[in-house]
């Protein structure tokens, strides 16, 4: 289900917004780069083999390329933060927003140059190519074996993150910084390293999502970050931007709604996603699980 994908990407948006109050427009493109890293590593490490008409990859191989993609994406995320966002830490938010957009465009157009604009063929998970049927089917909504696997991987990652944020020292530090950066730094927390950590985790998750999507749709292309990015962003807002469980919830919600609408009225899926965004902004802008802050006069 695409919902888990959106959830993974939405987490990155939420976390970065939580600590930096910045909407990281480039996040969707980090997801795209992750997918490509997965693709190229599966090639170069010769993890794919031909089985009949398709390229396949073993589950173990898949986990390996996910890990590599996560690493690569994390690196990219930190790089972006260092070069493009850190100098603007104290700048007005619109400037940072514009920079984020610039980075996003850079990745997209740069990606088109480096990777070429044609879609790349992604390997199938071993044993799934033969499955033309589905595991389950609810009404018009179908769930593939691949989807179940995606759900599992996503669930594992999200749970790990939740445990990390709630029960470890760096996790608590992250929450402190997202609450009040200045006070947190007075408490001995180095905001720079926490911010880097946030980007690492967020980008890694996006990278994983990229590989998973590649495995599901069997292709990747440089502009794939656009639609997925915007929808994941909507998911983050709907769930409550700045809230980690919110991002997960939002992702699943958007994914479900999309599936439902696509089954009956495929043309309005996009419009509906934005409609949801506007609805939540009007009714509860802080999102389903988000909390508000009071401004002192």
């Amino acid at each position: 289900m695409l919902g888990s994908i959106y959830a993974l990407i939405a987490l990155g948006y939420s976390m970065v917004y939580g600590v930096l109050r910045l909407i990281n427009f480039a996040h969707g493109d980090v997801y795209m780069v992750g997918a490509f890293i997965g693709f190229y590593s599966s090639r170069w490490l010769r993890l794919t083999y031909t089985n009949g008409q398709v390229n396949e990859i073993t589950p173990a191989g898949m986990l390996l390329i996910i890990a590599i993609a996560m690493l690569g994406a994390a690196l990219l995320g930190v790089l972006i933060e260092r070069i493009a966002y850190r100098p603007l830490r104290r700048a007005p938010r619109l400037a940072a927003l514009i920079t984020a957009i610039g980075v996003s465009m850079l990745l997209e157009y740069g990606g088109q140059i480096v990777f070429g604009t044609t879609k790349k063929d992604y390997p199938w998970l071993a044993g799934t190519a033969q499955l033309t049927g589905t595991v389950q089917s609810f009404g018009g909504i179908s769930i593939d074996k691949v989807d179940v696997m995606i759900l599992i991987v996503a669930a594992v990652l999200v749970t790990a993150l939740h445990l990390f944020v709630q029960h470890t020292k760096p996790g608590r530090a992250m929450r402190a910084v997202s609450f009040d950066m200045e006070t947190a730094s007075l408490m001995g927390i180095n905001p720079d390293s926490i911010i880097s950590l946030t980007f690492i985790i967020g980008s890694a998750f996006a990278g994983a999502a990229g590989v998973l999507v590649g495995m599901r749709n069997h292709y990747v292309e440089p502009l794939m970050g656009l639609t997925a990015g915007i929808k994941a962003f909507v998911a983050a807002v709907v769930g409550g931007i700045g809230s980690i469980p919110g991002a997960a919830l939002g992702g699943l919600a958007i994914g479900l709604c999309e599936e439902a609408v696509r089954a009956f009225y495929p043309q309005i899926t996009d419009a509906m996603v934005f409609g949801l965004l506007i609805l939540i902004l009007l009714v509860k802008p802080t999102g389903i699980l988000g909390g508000g802050t009071v401004e002192k006069v």
Partner: protein, 342 residues
């Protein structure tokens, strides 16, 4: 409301002079230099209208709007609706009034643009009223959502042309119209900025709480800025549609909104002059870089990032180009050259 005789006459005279100049320029350029540069000039003018109008929201009142292309799209469709579907009814009205043939196209187009402004302004009201209750980032997200939502509606509804948009729109846009529109939006911005209403907008930008405390109805003014800007965006959309001769709703996307935002930011948020120059520059730049082919967009985005890091107040910051400023600067430069002899 009485216009002082002097200023009214001056207004009319200036407009006539500029219109004539534009017409002459249009004829001159289209001939020898060919359609390519002509189109570039038209696009520059449209960009000026779009950028200067967005500057009223982003620069004057300090709000974030990331959905300006949506208003352009509304204006494009509204104007095309008139010129395509109301064409015959209008011509019959012209017959009844006895309007000479030469005046028909301009008048029809004027009607179309008024319709575009009205429609876009109305949509601006609908979008602004709920969105402007939100703070900063959320407002940006809301406008983004509305912009894309508007586009999705036009793409989806087949009755309005659906994904393939509208075609065979008559090419009514001339350099004259574009110049008039550009001048119009600039003059309006300037007069607004110098007035008490403009100061109200600036106050909101500076400190909304303090603005409220001195009696400014901040919500009303934010909505007002929004609606005025949307109306002008509608006009820009109308001009674009009647130059492209078709409307492809997919091209009025978030990306286009961002391009306009970049013009405003690069020129300096709040500066009308900056918006004008950036709009023209950024329309020509990708074309001039066309030689670099694929690399030009990469260069463009890198430029954006560097600009934000190095000089984020843009070219002009909040300053404006004015005769007095130019005279002052000239005087300062010459006195420095003459070795500071007072």
């Amino acid at each position: 409301m009485r216009l002082r005789a002097g200023s009214a006459v001056r207004l009319v005279v200036w407009t006539a002079v500029l219109a004539a100049a534009a017409m002459a320029a249009g004829a001159l350029i289209k001939g020898p230099l060919g359609g390519y540069y002509f189109r570039l000039l038209i696009l520059s003018g449209i960009a000026v209208v779009a950028a200067v109008s967005l500057n009223i929201i982003n620069g004057f009142s300090g709000q974030f709007s990331l959905g300006h292309a949506g208003f352009m799209l509304v204006g494009a469709y509204a104007s095309a609706g008139i010129t395509l579907f109301a064409h015959h009814s209008i011509n019959r009205a012209f017959d009844a009034v006895g309007l000479p043939a030469g005046a028909r196209t301009p008048v029809e187009f004027a009607i179309a643009m008024i319709a575009a402004a009205a429609a876009a302004g109305a949509v601006g009201l609908v979008v602004g009223l709920p969105s402007l209750r939100l703070r900063g980032d959320y407002l940006a997200i809301a406008t983004l959502g509305f912009g894309e939502g508007i586009r999705s509606i036009f793409v989806t509804v087949d009755a309005l042309g659906g994904a393939s948009g509208l075609h065979d729109i008559p090419e009514y846009t001339t350099l004259t119209w574009v110049v008039l529109a550009a001048i119009g939006v600039v003059m309006m911005s300037r007069n607004l900025a110098l007035s008490t209403h403009g100061r109200a907008l600036f106050a909101i930008r500076e400190d909304e709480t303090a603005a409220q405390a001195v009696g400014i109805n901040t919500f009303k003014y934010k909505v007002l800025a929004f609606v005025i800007a949307a109306a002008w965006a509608g006009i820009a959309g109308a001009l674009l549609a009647h130059s492209d001769k078709n409307i492809d709703p997919r091209s009025y996307s978030f990306m286009k909104s961002i391009e306009i935002v970049v013009m405003v930011v690069l020129g300096g948020m709040g500066s009308v002059t900056g918006a004008v120059i950036a709009a023209i520059g950024l329309t020509w730049l990708p074309e001039l870089l066309r030689a670099a082919a694929v690399y030009r967009m990469v260069f463009y985005s890198a430029l954006l990032i560097v600009m934000m890091i190095v000089r984020r107040q843009g070219l002009f910051g909040r300053a404006e180009l004015s005769i007095r400023w130019m005279a002052e600067t000239l005087r300062r430069m010459t006195s420095r050259a003459l070795g500071e002899r007072r």
